[in-house]
């Protein structure tokens, strides 16, 4: 049961129940849809960028606790940050949920998702919002799939 407790930490259950920034931004400078065909999770990420800074970041959709909490935590982590920080933070986050080493520094609250690494089938849930965010910033309009 310890792996499960590690996966479903209080913070994750809380963000699943009460996702932060769970709304539409209209107008948004960027938005994109993410879709996980394996489990049907579907969410849309909205971003408002001005002068290279993420002024606002939000999401909406339907997903499991891991994808919902991950999206919610992502919006909190990146709101008000320079767009240039997205790539390096995603790289670190990806390491966090896929590799066994120590938690990379600088992830803050996102670190609660470390438990995902013990559940390879759930990595796609944890990264869904991030893939959508990247697609939105790249102005790719077709939904991104995690498969």
């Amino acid at each position: 049961m310890s792996d499960l407790r590690e996966l479903y930490q209080e913070v994750i259950l809380d963000h699943n129940k009460r996702p932060r920034n769970f709304r539409v931004i209209d107008p948004a400078s960027h938005h994109a849809e993410g879709f996980n065909p394996l489990c049907g999770d579907r969410l849309t990420v909205f971003i408002d960028v001005a002068d290279g800074v993420i002024r606002d970041l939000a999401f909406q959709g339907q997903g499991c606790a891991i994808s919902t909490a991950s999206a919610s935590l992502m919006t909190e982590a990146l709101k008000g940050r320079p767009v240039a920080e997205v790539e390096p933070l995603f790289a670190k986050f990806h390491d966090l949920v896929t590799t066994d080493g120590p938690t990379p520094p600088g992830l803050g609250k996102l670190g609660v998702l470390a438990g995902v690494r013990e559940f390879p089938s759930r990595v796609k849930c944890a990264t869904l919002a991030w893939h959508a965010l990247k697609a939105a910033l790249d102005h790719r309009s077709a939904p991104v799939a995690t498969e």
């Binding site: 792996d3 259950l13 489990c39 049907g40 999770d41 579907r42 997903g63 499991c64 919902t68 759930r122």
Partner: protein
Amino acid sequence: MSAPIVTPVPAAAFDVEAVRAQFPVLAQQIRGKHLVYLDSGASAQKPEVVVQAVADCYRGYYSNIHRGVHALSERSTTAFERAREQVARFVNAPSPREIVFLRSTTEAINLVANSFLEPQLGPDDEILVTEMEHHSNIVPWQLVADRYGAKVVAAPVTDRGELDLDGLTRLISGRTKLVAVTHVSNVLGTINPIADIVRLAHAQGVPVLVDGAQGVPHLAVDVQALGCDFYAFSAHKVYGPSGVGALWARAELLAAMPPYQGGGGMIRRVSFSGTTFADPPERFEAGTPDVAGVIGFGAAVEWTRALGLDAIAAHEHELTQYAMARLADIPGLRLIGTAADKAGVVSFVMDGVHPHDIGTILDGEGVAVRVGHHCAQPLMERFAVPATARASFGVYNTSADVDALAAALDKVRHWFG
């Protein structure tokens, strides 16, 4: 765990412990808990006799078939053709020559789409399926339909998950070239009234293909009594190896169908001025088949037949009734698929918990279920759910497995409050 409100399945004539003992894979622990395998709908486990039949072939007499004059090739060919007889008997086909060995249900349906349907398809023609089909009984039809401006239409499903026969009847017209329907829904467990559907379709001169992937593990299948024209099924869902399946089709239909794939084994004579093809079933069996897999398929259907499909159906029926009653008592749980005539498949959703999270927490308790859209996205849309959790039963499941499922679902409730 709360006390069961319903009486568990009584230890009847069906000796489930003796059956379980034949499945080596079941005797293991997952994350420190006894494995409770409730995912036979995705793929069934294999009894020792099937594992042994495959191993015996490789250890004792394996060779390519229909090609050699040497002893091993003759022995392999004999065993392969014996499997054809066994599989034919299993679905009561009039002749083993009406059994085509393929990779799967999926390949069988693609074969019918390409060799039977395509040559007669024109603009505005229709293939009638149902809302409860697996993607493998939708997409192959769409692929050929798209090439000819034809279309795939779907008969409606009721809120209980039963096929709306009036709705289906209304959709059969002069444009309908084929009705393709599942015997048993892999999500709802619904057993469709195939003989009735066949009568309705045949009355209008429309042939019927039955997707039997979930039919053969749960029901005694008699293709002659069903009256259908094609019956497609996979070995792996009926306790046989993965990667092999079969198509049963009426001899006269097979005889008129052109080859699907070209290659070795399916020809009579090849020359650059023209090639002539073997008779069915070899015409549709291009290339070296999964020899040992087919032999294992034969062993699996023999084993299943010896156990008795009626006894299996009765055992699974009791389990399903028990499971539905236990699950209905869990707060916030909703069953998807409550047809009167239902095989051992129980789908459900829970308020406030995504099926994916249900699956992970159940796995932590050693309980293996499938979560997701079950390759039936149109059906998910029909029931307005993104996904479901599904427990599916096999010959080896017990009422204790259902109790373990219910207890694990209590944990889910506890975690997700």
